[in-house]
Structures are given as C-alpha cells and as structure tokens.
Point group: C2
Amino acid sequence: MTRPIAVLGGTGPEGFGLALRWAQAGETVIIGSRDAQRAQSAADKIRQRAGSSAKVSGAENVAACAAADLLVLTIPFESHATVLKQLKPALRPGSIVVDATVPLAASVGGRASRTLGVWQGSAAQETAELVPQGVAVVAAFQNVGSEMLNAEGAVDCDVIVCSDDAEASRTVRSLAIRIPGVRAIDGGKLENARVLEQITALMIGLNIRHKGHSGIRITGLPPAAYTGH
Amino acid sequence: MTRPIAVLGGTGPEGFGLALRWAQAGETVIIGSRDAQRAQSAADKIRQRAGSSAKVSGAENVAACAAADLLVLTIPFESHATVLKQLKPALRPGSIVVDATVPLAASVGGRASRTLGVWQGSAAQETAELVPQGVAVVAAFQNVGSEMLNAEGAVDCDVIVCSDDAEASRTVRSLAIRIPGVRAIDGGKLENARVLEQITALMIGLNIRHKGHSGIRITGLPPAAYTGH
C-alpha cells in the first residue's frame, strides 16, 4: 500500500500487534493514542522490533486520524463511541475506518467471554452510524488475537472482512494479507460483523479454559475465496 | 459407545449425514422423524452406504426417543419447541439431548445467513428450559455442514461442544470424534451455544457468497484441548 495506516488505540496489545506486523511488512504506520507521548513510545518499540527503517510514528488519536485516510480502530468498547465522536471532524469522505472493536462485557465489569448487546447489531455497525457520510466502514481483525500478532512467525488465523463498500473491503483484505499466515475472506455485508464480534468472545473463553491463544480458519471454500495463499 | 443414538429429524440432510457417519463408525443409530415410514426409508439408504452390517433403524420421533438415552436434535427451528414438547414425556432423567439446531431467520421466511433472537439466548438454551429435570443438554454440531457429512472422506471441521454438564459434554466429544477428521473442543457452558449458532449463519453466508461448503478449525490451543487427533 502507498497510503499510511493510522492504528487508533495502537498502544494496546491488539493495535500494537497489528501496527508491528504492518511496519514489518514495510507499510507506513501511525500509532494513535489519547496520549501522544505514549503513542511515540509505542512507535519506538515497534522500530526496535521491525528495524530502524520501519516507517512508524506516534501521534494523538485525532492528529493520527488527520494524517491518514485508512484508519484501524482497536479501542476498548467503553471508549468506542466517545473516540469516534472525537475523530468525526478529522474524518474525510473517501476514508476507510476499519473496526476491530469487540463489545466485550468486560467493558462494564463483566466477563471477556461474553458480549454486550449493541443496539445497532455490532460495534462496527455503531461505527457506521457515527462516521460522516462518504466514510466507508469495514469490520475485520476481531478474531486475530494480540498474542499471535505480537509473537514471532506466521499468524495461524483467517481474517473475515465485512463491509457494505466492496472496494473498501478489497482494500482491507489486501491489508490483512500483509500479515504473514493470514488469509482474508470476504464475509459480505457489515451486518455480519456481529458474528465476528461474538466469535472473539467464544475464543477468549477457549483461551481461558484451555490456556492457549486461539485463532480460526475457515475450511471448505474454493481457492478464489481466500485472498492471499 | 454402547448406547444407541437417536437422531431426531434424521431424514433432513444434517441429521442424515450425522447418522450416516455414526453408522459407518459402527454405532447403533435410530433415525427419528415425524413419519416412521420416512425414517425407515432413510435408515435403508444409510444401510446402502454404510454396509448391510450397519446398526441403523428408523422410527417415529417419540418412539426413537423412548429407545435411546442419547438424543441428537437436528430439526428446523420452526419445529424445535413443538418437537421438544412432544418428546418431553419420553425423556428420562440421565438422558442427554444434543442440540444442533440453529435459529435461522429462514424459519420465518427470512435469510439462512441471519439468525433470529431467541429469548433464552440460543436454541440450545431454549431446549434446556423445555426438557425435564435431570436431562442434560449439550450444544454441538451446528457448524458441521450437511454437505461435508454426506460427502465421502474426512470432515474438515472442528466441533465445539457446550454444556453445563461436564460428563455429558465429555460423552458428546467422544461421539463427535467418531466422525473422521473431526476434532472436538470443550467450549464451556451451554450459554456459549449462542455463538456456535451464529457462526452457522455466517458460514451459510460464506457458502452462498463463495459457492463452497465451509467448516471451521480452531487453531492455537494446546493439544490437550482437542479430543481426537
């Protein structure tokens, strides 16, 4: 890709892991955080792991958003709507917002193996309601655990990508397969994000129960269904 | 297993496929249907594929239920509660009801790639409310497509098993791995069935979009998490 990728909430383990993988793949990455200092410190850590030529920087969330038109949200659900409202003035038509947020019940003191009901159907659909007209929303990366991303080696997980914007979905599938091991699958419309979000809660439950770091693979589809590999 | 398995709704493609696989593995299988004749005809077809020594018979649903204490429900959601109410007098304490039902919106004329909201959280949890005390409910097999089951060869899919009864869950995991290729995974409490049911809707959507017969595999768990293999 030639366009920079802003990972908002990029100081958390999921955002950090995605930013790391994309920096390692040669992408230009901007880590966004509420705190610019913390964002820069995360960018430094990524440079240490990805090499000094890595194109990674850190900025406050709104500044990061203003500097990119491909944005990836990896923020806890309790901050989801608030951050989106802050970002709104910085979002331009033609931008893509990739939402990896999962409405875990942990957001309100419950279990990470359960989800909250979101009125719109899913966190990603809530995002679609909060962004300005002309901004495409894509749901992806909910099921790729941060441990897999932050470990060395290939990621043993498929990324299902859901969006009402076919072109934006394609762009995000191209982005997903920059992560070694990942196969990207078109999962259809944004409304299907609700299932992706639920799957994460199931996977967290499996991780706790079996002391592992689970991923998922979709079998049985024809080769053309899998972007990459 | 020494106990017979009654597959209720076993004339439909999912139930037929499961019954076929278990008959091929040497299990004693009773196909249940509203219509005893249709059940016997399905049993005959299974004998043709599994060989004349296959221990398979057909009976009306309630009779099938009375003849087994391991019951597998593969009935369309629109008949789910009705059939359970009919079965109730034939269900004995100590029996296990395995629910593979998915509340697809197709049950009310909607899409098979969407689910209905079930008040109890999932079809399997509705089952738990409808069975007599002392009957264990286990959610499993929602994600194993009928095409995979009815085809030849190994099934490229994991079976996640959810139940509040640890012993019944173990029994069903043992049953699942009688199907070649299947790995069974303890998915925790019955409440997690809601995610398994949603996954099926996503998979049906993938099948339609990509013209395939999808399955799922869970990666990244330690070997002990997988029963079988």
